[in-house]
């Protein structure tokens, strides 16, 4: 199908985009890669009066490393992020999640910020962002606002973004050198929306006890969920996988749809948490063997 008629605006600077959105609010839609907005326009699920194309604003395409965080512009293209040495080195969890995002042909145009702003419950980039405890940076005429990702996502396609705000950047805590990460997902076909996805980061102390752990689950509830895992800190790493699977599955209320029952999502969550945790721990073992 074809979209409804819309006014097209292409600002060259962020301030212009912010001013336009401030004037038009809900009547305008922000267009970057168009990998989610495009289908919604063509199917007429979205019927904006105006489109503000932010894909040629240079400042939104930068990746910068700071003392504790990496800042990725909202307009960074997913395949560029995947090919970035900085992201491979500093944000290994994001690098592991990216190959699961859509297909080669959609990652060539889809952006990091677009995926976050759209907030599909099964999307991998939001899942990676909540798992590592990142932040969403928003800009409006009223100023800049930073919202922790774990609060930003509210429900299916719903976020804390106000109608005059543009997602301008994502802030990712840099990975500790001794941290280990894993990403696991099950979809009907590779590149389809995840039925369930799990992201995991872990650090061990010298006695192989859990020192730091974060675990996120996507596709199961209406938004990506960071599982509360404090009770696992201090436990011997070798024995956590089964308990963690049960704990994660028990703390979620799964969605149900025409393809997948709630019970099946629960079962997949258990399997994927086990896979992700074991894969992260295996990576630590291999790294140690390599050093010895």
């Amino acid at each position: 199908m074809k979209p409804v008629a819309f006014d097209y605006y292409r600002p060259q600077a962020l301030a212009e985009a912010v001013a336009l959105l401030s004037d038009m609010g809900d009547e305008a839609a922000i267009l970057a890669g168009g990998m989610t907005l495009g289908p919604m326009l063509n199917l007429r699920v979205a019927r904006p009066r105006a489109i503000i194309d932010i894909s040629r604003i240079p400042v939104l395409k930068t990746i910068s490393v700071h003392s504790n965080v990496v800042l990725t512009g909202a307009g960074v293209i997913q395949n560029d992020a995947l090919g970035s040495d900085v992201i491979q080195r500093e944000l290994p969890l994001l690098a592991m999640a990216l190959p699961w995002v859509g297909h080669f042909q959609t990652r060539n145009r889809g952006t990091l910020g677009g995926s976050v702003a759209h907030a599909d419950p099964s999307a991998e980039i939001p899942l990676a962002l909540i798992t590592c405890g990142g932040t969403v940076v928003l800009q409006s005429r009223r100023g800049q606002r930073r919202v922790p990702a774990r609060e930003f996502f509210v429900g299916v396609l719903m976020t804390q973004r106000r109608s005059d705000e543009i997602v301008t950047a994502l802030e990712w805590p840099r990975s500790a050198p001794d941290a280990s990460h894993a990403f696991a997902e099950i979809a009907q076909r590779h590149g389809d929306f995840a039925i369930a996805a799990v992201a995991c980061s872990v650090r061990l102390d010298r006695l192989d006890q859990v020192e730091e752990l974060s675990l996120g689950v996507g596709g199961v509830e209406g938004r990506p969920v960071a599982i509360q895992v404090n009770s696992f800190v201090g436990r011997p790493a070798g024995e956590i996988a089964t308990d963690l699977s049960e704990h994660a599955a028990g703390s979620l209320t799964p969605m149900e749809d025409h393809l997948v029952s709630a019970d099946y999502r629960t079962a997949l969550t258990k399997v994927l948490v086990g896979r992700a945790v074991n894969s992260a721990l295996e990576m630590i073992r291999q790294r140690r063997d390599h050093l010895q």
Binding site: D7, Y8, R10, P11, E16, G38, N42, H103, F104
Partner: protein, 167 residues
């Protein structure tokens, strides 16, 4: 700094480079890029399937990258370098990948083929010696209802081997 504005429903002249030639045509803001290429510039090798970015038939190269042309709108392509299947080889000839597709019967109806050939062009530039899994991952962005994909995978792997031998 200025903001470009194209009013809803109003036609404007869009200029871009198509297969190495400077071209222009008339568009309105909501016109899909694939429709612009077909209806205004007669690039009928751009096939339009699902119109929401899923089937891959409309895949073209924009500034060297394999992307969908059905989820982009004409004004976004202002000044872009576009290559469609018509521009992958000299007119009347086939390139290495196209010859391998013919040898291995990697197409029957041919509807998905132009999009796949554009994807493969970008993919092999980034991954000159892919393994089967990498080829299948890349192909997951295309739907082919004729071949079952096996012959497409074989053709791409053979073309990749031949091209890196020649390089």
């Amino acid at each position: 700094m200025t903001t470009l504005h194209r009013a809803a429903g109003e036609r404007f002249t869009l200029e871009l480079t198509l297969n190495g030639q400077r071209r222009s045509g008339q568009a309105e803001p909501r016109m899909l890029l694939c429709d612009f290429l077909r209806h205004e510039l007669q690039a009928f090798g751009v096939h339009v399937g699902c119109e929401h970015g899923v089937c891959g038939a409309c895949t073209i190269l924009v500034d060297g990258r394999a992307v969908r042309s059905c989820t982009q709108y004409a004004p976004q392509a202002d000044g872009a370098e576009i290559v469609t299947v018509e521009g992958l080889a000299e007119p009347g000839t086939l390139n290495e990948v196209q010859r391998a597709f013919a040898r291995h019967h990697a197409l029957q109806c041919g509807f998905c083929t132009p999009g796949i050939l554009c994807s493969v062009t970008h993919f092999l530039r980034e991954t000159p010696r892919p393994d089967e899994q990498q080829v299948r991952d890349m192909l997951s962005g295309h739907i082919c209802r004729c071949t079952g994909y096996a012959s497409i995978v074989t053709a791409i792997l053979e073309a990749a081997a031949a091209m890196s031998r020649d390089a």
